[in-house]
């Protein structure tokens, strides 16, 4: 079980400030991001980011936001479905995280519920459809919506 005790909040806040950095237009895939991000916990923020990556525009935006947060060095993106599957590597990685951020596309809250059902406490929960973006089945993401979501997520994380 993840406890809030002993969290390195000060360090986390410093890292959060980087979220307003200019969005980079790198075209790395998720696997590239994960490979880059499988790093030693030495000195790492040790913040786990779990997007729902659901079958909607907002679900896919949650994924894009998670990738961007990795680029901003806010934390490590992890596989939410791996938690649902109770994959040992994912479970152990999440257990060692000092802070968990769940990003859901809509109020069904699959990412947060998946984590909670596995026994994890979610420290920050973000719902993309509550940031002024309407949930649709259109998977061709609008850049302005992604930018809006990123801006709002940055505000939310900074407000802590």
């Amino acid at each position: 079980m993840i406890s809030k005790n002993g969290l390195k909040n000060k360090k986390f806040k410093v890292i959060q400030l980087q979220i307003f950095n200019k969005v980079q237009n790198q075209q790395l895939g998720e696997n590239d991001i994960m490979a880059e991000n499988t790093k030693c916990a030495c000195g790492a923020a040790n913040v786990a980011i779990f997007p729902c990556a659901g079958a909607s525009n907002t679900g896919q935006i949650s994924n894009k936001i998670a990738i961007e947060l990795v680029r901003q060095e806010v934390g490590n993106m992890m596989c939410t479905v791996g938690i649902g599957a109770r994959a040992p590597g994912l479970m152990k990685s999440a257990e060692s995280s000092e802070k968990i951020i769940a990003i859901d596309g809509c109020p069904v809250n699959c990412a947060r519920k998946t984590l909670e059902l596995a026994g994890f406490n979610v420290d920050r929960h973000i719902i993309i459809s509550e940031l002024g973006i309407k949930k649709t089945k259109d998977m061709d993401l609008k850049e302005e919506e992604v930018a809006l979501a990123l801006e709002k997520v940055g505000e939310i994380l900074q407000s802590e």
Binding site: M34, K39, A41, A48, M78, K92, E95
Partner: protein, 77 residues
């Protein structure tokens, strides 16, 4: 028994390997301790943060240095 230490070679990864060697020595068990630095292999275990320790294919810990007692407990199971 095969004990794998997943990590890129930083201080915590090296410490984990040292502790695993100590646990094996103190228990007097026959175990092969292998350092895994290949990202593909690390990702293959679903590990997102290192150091991690794997015993016979089962991930026991990820993202922190375990204690010798923890390692001994996992070896005995």
């Amino acid at each position: 028994m095969k004990i794998e230490i997943l990590g890129t070679g930083c201080a915590k990864c090296k410490k984990t390997k040292e502790l695993a060697e100590k646990a094996v020595k103190e228990l007097g068990v026959d175990a092969e301790i292998v350092k895994v630095e290949d990202f593909d292999k690390i990702l293959g275990y679903g590990v997102m943060v290192t150091p991690a320790l794997v015993i016979d294919g089962d991930v026991k810990v990820a993202g922190k240095v375990p204690s010798v007692d923890d390692i001994k407990k996992w070896i005995k199971k």
